[in-house]
């Protein structure tokens, strides 16, 4: 009985140690850091394993697109403010979606091909999943 208890204790200790070792081996500290700070660009760099050069080029593209996005945002908000027709708002939103899609394709082109495909597979469905009725409570930041 005593030996059986010793064996069970050893097995439990080994199980716990193995859990800890494999947990830390498969953990991603950079991802946790990005999640804690809500830093989407840090996520992009970590998730798609970008080197400094690729990241700098994508950051530049992102900054350029932010200006374009701000224009689209202003146009959509102005249309909503003056309670424009749904067709007009839909047309403005389509411009926004097309621009976003183009931007994502340009970003993907700056990544290694395999990572670029994975990036597009990650972001494009999220454009399509946009739900007007569950729009996030965000203020325009750019």
């Amino acid at each position: 009985m005593r030996n059986l208890l010793i064996t069970i204790s050893l097995a439990l200790a080994l199980c716990g140690t193995s859990f800890a070792v494999f947990y830390y081996a498969n953990d991603d500290a950079a991802m946790h850091h990005a999640a804690r700070e809500g830093d989407a660009m840090k996520w992009l760099r970590t998730e798609f394993k970008l080197n400094d050069q690729q990241f700098a080029a994508i950051q530049q593209l992102h900054d350029d697109y932010s200006t374009q996005c701000a224009d689209h945002c202003a146009a959509i908000m102005a249309a909503r403010r003056r309670t424009s027709s749904p067709a007009e708002i839909a047309a403005l939103e389509k411009i926004c979606v097309d621009a976003m899609t183009r931007h994502f394709q340009q970003v993907a082109a700056l990544m290694p091909p395999k990572e670029g495909q994975r990036y597009l597979a990650t972001v494009l469905p999220r454009i399509a999943d946009y739900d007007h009725h569950r729009a996030p409570n965000l203020q325009a930041t750019h």
């Binding site: 097995a11 991802m31 998730e47």
Partner: protein, 100 residues
Amino acid sequence: MTSPESNEELSRQLQAWQVNPPANPRFRADVWTRIQTLQAPPWTTYFRLHFPAVCSALALAFFLGGLSGRVSAREKVERESAQLATEYVRSLDARSMRMP
């Protein structure tokens, strides 16, 4: 020297003396547990005697611990990644901006 009278007195008292210890319902079980403990071989001997079973149990524990550690870590990273991906797209989506 003691007198014959005092010996008779002692004998009477000894004859009248009764010991009534409280009954222990686990007496037999406790005795057997002590015997088994004394008879149990050391763990190293136990390990040699049950080598395949003990090794299998330890290997299984290592495998299950490692697998659950890996799955837990990957799930957490994937959850955070999905959340950040949504934030990333949302930050570039003019449709999601609200009027101030």
